[in-house]
């Protein structure tokens, strides 16, 4: 039964299994285990980034396609929800319409870009997505009447998801049973279902063909699979899931803006999470996203401590400055591409 749930793709390593279970339990019970605004916020971010990173892994790790437009799709979903909620008024129907429209538009855009670039050379795809994504980011910040420009959009979500809504009187295990709790579980359960769906996709015949194409596209074509069709389908699927993750993120924050959804920094974060966690293993996304979001929130404190301890030396304090943590992640990223291309999960599985 459990095996069917994870589509037969078990962690295949006791340590990995333990870590994954720990993450699952922590996320599932986050509002009770770590009450506090900041930690619940971190947990929700981890959930959403797991889905976002896993959908990117579907493309990069399984399809062997590098895309720099993943934040664009993420942003499409987020802006879809924001615009629908602004124009249709608060309500679950607006959230649904926004998410579905965002995901559909993302898939359509991915189809167009994919047909254009993947038809010729897979390497064009990386460059074209980079160009298109930055053009869209500029466009969003310029069309300020529609999108709010650099300031972004704040919008209202249904009352049932707000802190003022009471599910029942009193508390459950010391936590107020209000709409905030409901919102967290909406995010958590949606992310959980989306993740299991992706696990199903990569372990289906479709996923096997994608892996075959990644290993040797020429041979896959010779066996009789239309390489372009499979690659474009994977792009569309991954774009739609990224848009859904974006929609959840918008619901969680009740705000969208270019910096939170569309920026190049988030794209680089996603790349780092996929590679450090392990490409081509869905569980890598879980490990990568969890580690990264935790590091983003807490590693900076460690670095600033290290920076203070060497403050007498020249240049070193600058290198260990808390704002320079991306430098060290970049180094880690290069090293992991060279030495552990299968990331943490690959290591744990002993490959």
């Amino acid at each position: 039964m459990l095996k069917t749930l994870v589509s037969g793709d078990t962690p295949r390593s006791p340590i990995l299994l333990a870590v994954l279970l720990a993450i699952l339990v922590c996320l599932a019970l986050a509002p009770f285990l770590f009450p506090g605004v900041r930690s619940v916020d971190t947990a929700a971010r981890i959930c959403i980034f797991i889905v976002l990173v896993a959908s990117y892994d579907l493309l990069l790790g399984y399809g062997g396609i590098v895309s720099f437009a993943h934040t664009m799709f993420f942003g499409l979903g987020a802006y879809g929800v924001a615009l629908a909620s602004t124009h249709m008024g608060r309500g679950f129907d607006a959230l649904l319409v926004g998410s579905v429209a965002g995901a559909g538009l993302a898939a359509l855009l991915a189809l167009v870009i994919g047909l254009f670039s993947l038809r010729v050379r897979a390497i064009f795809f990386a460059m074209i997505t980079l160009a298109v994504a930055s053009a869209v980011a500029v466009l969003v910040s310029q069309l300020s009447t529609l999108t709010g420009g650099e300031d972004g959009l704040s919008f209202k979500i249904p009352r049932a998801l707000g802190p003022a809504f009471k599910i029942m009187d009193g508390e459950i295990f010391g936590v107020k049973a209000n709409g905030k709790l409901l919102k967290y579980y909406l995010v958590f359960i949606s992310c959980f279902v989306l993740f299991l769906f992706m696990l199903r996709v990569v372990n289906s015949p479709f996923g096997r063909v994608l892996q075959a194409i990644r290993e040797n596209d020429f041979r896959a074509e010779a066996i009789g699979y239309r390489v372009v069709h499979y690659r474009v389908a994977a792009t569309c699927l991954s774009a739609a899931i990224a848009a859904l993750a974006g929609a959840l993120y918008a619901i969680w924050l009740r705000y969208v803006g270019p910096d939170t959804t569309l920026s190049m920094e988030i794209m680089i974060d996603i790349l780092l999470m996929v590679v450090i966690g392990g490409m081509g293993t869905m569980y890598g996304a879980v490990i990568g996203a969890t580690l990264f979001v935790l590091a983003q929130n807490y590693l900076q404190n460690v670095l600033s401590l290290a920076g203070e301890s060497v403050s007498a030396l020249p240049l070193l304090p600058d290198l260990l400055n808390a704002d320079r943590w991306l430098l060290w992640l970049g180094v880690l990223f290069i090293l992991s591409v060279y030495f552990f291309p299968t990331g943490i999960v690959g290591r744990l599985r002993g490959k």
């Binding site: 990069l60 062997g64 590098v66 254009f116 670039s117 038809r119 010729v120 897979a122 390497i123 064009f124 990386a126 460059m127 074209i128 980079l130 160009a131 298109v132 930055s134 053009a135 500029v138 466009l139 310029q142 069309l143 190049m264 680089i268 790349l271 590679v275 240049l315 600058d318 290198l319 400055n321 704002d323 320079r324 991306l326 430098l327 992640l329 970049g330 180094v331 990223f333 290069i334 591409v337 060279y338 291309p341």
Partner: protein, 343 residues
């Protein structure tokens, strides 16, 4: 006995369209300039825009040429190319700030000398950095596109962060040398002096590059290497050495482009390289990956189109380049001047 099959050789000249096909890319640039002339009401503003479009195109070409050659020669795609642009700009601007007494004086010769010192310094720095980058970052991932993209992207992140460590996180504002400020008036149009200098430098780089590639032995080896690397190696040339040379030269050119771009924008940030890479990628794709001529023509088209559209409809400027790329890829899927590989 059956009659011999009819054979009627025709000696007709190729049709005009067929004879023009090889020149189509360059005709497109001319067509674009004419279209701009028709679309823009005042001739003087058209002239101003054309010159600034050419200047922008030349700068993009300088930055893009290294990238396209590196790809053509060794099938290496360097997403970290933008790092050289940033480093070039920062080193060049540091030199200019050091030589403030020379750039501040209203003396053209002194100003140009200071500019030259800055350019040479920046090119030396980025050239050296290119050597290190090739050895450390690119060498272990030959023949593996996916890893190349990831690793060079990682290199870009590290270099950007190192720039922030060395020069600080704030953007640096820079004024142009004294005698390159302002504009000259020609036929009623204001032409910025600095843009004319940029066009001149770009032309010199293009012609030198073309001469080197077409008329010298090293150029012959490079071109042969692009077409069929194995054969060149079989003939006894060490293609690795040639490639490192091209990589270093391409990095140095990116540094030069960085100095020019920084002075053009009059502000530099650590992320400027990555921002210009968007235009650079569009240019190398529409030019045809690996083709220097295609890259030159593509850069001019992008520069001109961007300036014309920014004048006519400011919000559509960046989208116009994407539209241009889509149109060109529909017409020639491998770019305007596709590189034929003998493989």
């Amino acid at each position: 006995m059956s009659a011999a099959p009819k054979h009627a050789p025709t000696m007709a000249q190729m049709s005009l369209a067929e004879r023009l096909a090889p020149y189509a890319p360059i005709l497109l640039v001319i067509g674009l300039v004419i279209a701009g002339f028709l679309a823009i009401p005042a001739t003087s503003s058209w002239l101003t825009l054309t010159v600034s479009g050419l200047a922008m195109g030349m700068m993009i070409f300088i930055m893009a040429s290294g990238l396209t050659l590196v790809f053509g020669l060794m099938d290496v795609i360097n997403f970290g190319h933008g790092a050289f642009v940033s480093v070039g700009a920062f080193v060049g601007v540091s030199f200019l700030l050091l030589l403030e007494h020379m750039t501040g004086a209203p003396n053209l010769l002194w100003n140009l000398t200071a500019l030259m010192v800055a350019i040479v310094g920046a090119m030396a720095a980025t050239g050296l950095m290119g050597y290190a980058f090739e050895r450390v970052i690119v060498k272990p991932v030959y023949g593996h596109h996916l890893k190349q993209i990831l690793v060079t992207m990682g290199g870009l992140i590290v270099v950007e962060q190192l720039i922030i460590v060395l020069w600080g996180p704030e953007e640096i504002y820079i004024t142009r040398p004294e005698s390159l400020k302002g504009a000259i008036t020609f036929a009623g149009a204001a032409l910025e002096k600095y843009r004319l200098v940029a066009v001149a430098i770009g032309l010199v780089v293009f012609l030198t590059m073309r001469y080197t590639l077409r008329r010298t032995k090293i150029g012959l080896i490079v071109r042969a290497g692009v077409e069929n690397g194995e054969m060149v190696q079989a003939l006894g040339y060490n293609l690795r050495m040639v490639f490192i040379g091209v990589f270093v030269a391409g990095s140095a050119l990116a540094g030069l482009g960085g100095v020019l771009w920084g002075l053009y924008q009059e502000v530099i940030t650590a992320h400027m390289g990555n921002q210009t890479m968007i235009l650079v990628f569009i240019v190398v794709i529409i030019g045809g990956l690996g083709s220097v001529e295609g890259c030159f023509i593509g850069a001019l088209m992008v520069g001109l189109l961007q300036n014309y559209v920014a004048f006519l409809e400011p919000k559509a400027a960046l989208i116009s380049n994407i539209a241009l790329m889509v149109a060109i890829l529909m017409w020639r899927p491998m770019g305007m001047i596709p590189v034929v590989k003998a493989k």
